[in-house]
């Protein structure tokens, strides 16, 4: 299953997003930000790449700020 990550401005938004995504029944995991995606030392959320648009909509609806959504497999190529 292709996976992706969502990057956030700060851990507050990552945790808020994690809660919302779980509440909506999607699988999500908090992981350290892959070095090649950002120089920041924080965390991001790993999600199923297929669900990215649905998840993006949920977060937008709740006003959760996000920085970017990356495909993990593509980024690692």
């Amino acid at each position: 299953m292709p996976q992706g990550v969502i990057l956030f401005p700060s851990i507050h938004f990552a945790l808020r997003a994690e809660k919302l995504i779980k509440e909506n029944g999607f699988t999500v995991k908090l992981i350290p930000v892959p070095r090649h995606l950002s120089p920041d030392c924080g965390v991001c959320l790993r999600i199923s790449w297929e669900k990215r648009e649905e998840i993006r909509a949920i977060l937008a609806q709740a006003g959760v700020k996000i920085d970017a959504v990356h495909s993990l497999t593509e980024a690692e190529k």
Partner: protein, 388 residues
């Protein structure tokens, strides 16, 4: 043998705390420890989760949708300073009352020297603000109305909804100092049309000292806020400029993780019991205390003297005795701990007519029992006879 004490100084710091509070703080120190949001490892994430949950709980308690608009700091004073300094500029006008604590008065007095225009509306001797006075005082350059919801001297509660509605109508920000009231009486920022709310953790929210902050409503434009402090936030670390988003904009330096763990447990307790139930208990005790004190000859009680219209904070004086002497005797001879003097609120004491000597203040909490109130009334009665 441990000497029995009666703690009536909850308006300063609530004590005791629910058992869960010290337990949560111990657990944080022992098992979590790390810097919230400063690293990606499990303990840092666990610490960040605790801070995050505390933020979520604050937004639930005060009816705010977006918990990123909860900014933590040391106490209500820090929240008030951030709210005032962060939004008011020279040339702006702000309206406040003569019942304010120095946490509002001192920043405003300093800002007046820098060109801020301030109107201090007089209150009645019970501490009530004339609501129409607020409406009439709004000018073209009025940016904000800042008020203490519940007085720390006499407990007087101001009518928030009416004040909030005037502020909306006049398009000015409504800033509420909820240091005394948060946790003691229901507050809903949406219903009461509050734009900024300063709170502290160490009073009726049952958290430890060193926790508090500011909640920013939707009408406050985060792009307009100037942070009081700048520094490390654990976010946007590649930049040397302060992040422009909340809460990081206004939260620099490692937060009080252990304190916020305690505050979270305190708020969980408050929500489990329910603020209305807490309010009812305190109202009953306050009613009895007010009634009992007023029956004692030689004792003058200040404020609304109506449990419905005030918090569980009661100020009084003995004829012919200085508050400081009374306070010392209550502590040394009877184990009753209270606060005497001016309570950091010279303006409020001028308003109720007790400046500069101040008052004796009994402030109760959810943990006080009716028997303690009865005992205190007996003691005050005895002291009044001796003094009289």
């Amino acid at each position: 043998m441990e000497e029995k004490i009666i703690y009536f100084d909850n308006a300063a710091t609530s004590y005791p705390k629910p058992e869960e509070v010290p337990q949560a703080m111990f657990r944080f120190s022992k098992e979590v420890g790390a810097s919230p949001g400063r690293s990606g490892h499990r303990l840092a994430v666990e610490a960040a989760r605790i801070v995050f949950e505390a933020r979520e709980r604050i937004s639930q308690l005060f009816g705010v949708k977006d918990s990123s608009r909860v900014v933590f700091g040391l106490n209500a004073t820090e929240g008030i300073n951030q709210g005032l300094r962060g939004l008011l500029r020279p040339g702006d006008h702000v309206i406040t009352s003569s019942m304010e604590h120095n946490s509002v008065m001192r920043p405003l007095r300093a800002m007046m020297k820098e060109g801020l225009e301030v109107t201090i509306l007089p209150c009645s001797t019970e501490g009530f603000l004339d609501i129409q006075g607020v409406r009439k005082s709004v000018q073209k350059n009025t940016k904000m109305v800042v008020l203490n919801y519940g007085s720390n001297v006499v407990g007087t509660l101001q009518p928030l909804e009416e004040l909030g509605s005037i502020c909306r109508e006049k398009d000015v920000l409504f800033f509420v100092d909820a240091a005394q009231s948060a946790g003691a009486i229901p507050i809903d920022m949406e219903r009461e049309m509050i734009d900024l709310l300063a709170f502290t953790g160490h009073k009726a929210l049952f958290g430890p000292q060193g926790t508090g902050g500011l909640v920013l409503g939707e009408r406050v434009d985060e792009r307009e806020i100037v942070p009081v402090k700048r520094g490390g936030t654990g976010s946007r670390s590649e930049q040397e400029e302060q992040p422009d988003f909340l809460p990081d904009l206004c939260e620099s330096g490692t937060p009080n993780g252990v304190g916020l763990a305690g505050l979270l447990a305190g708020m969980d307790f408050v929500m489990k019991e329910g603020v209305p139930k807490i309010r009812e208990h305190e109202k009953k005790l306050t009613k009895r205390l007010l009634q009992g004190l007023q029956e004692i000859r030689g004792v003058t009680v200040y404020g609304p003297k109506d449990a419905q219209k005030q918090l569980s904070t009661v100020s009084f004086n003995f004829q012919g005795a200085a508050p400081s002497e009374v306070g010392l005797r209550l502590d040394e001879e009877y184990g009753i701990l209270c606060r005497v003097g001016l309570h950091c609120s010279p303006a409020a004491h001028r308003t109720i007519g007790t400046f500069p000597q101040g008052t004796v203040r009994f402030s109760l909490s959810y943990f006080n029992r009716p028997e303690e109130v009865e005992f205190a009334l007996q003691v005050v009665s005895q002291l009044a006879q001796k003094e009289g």
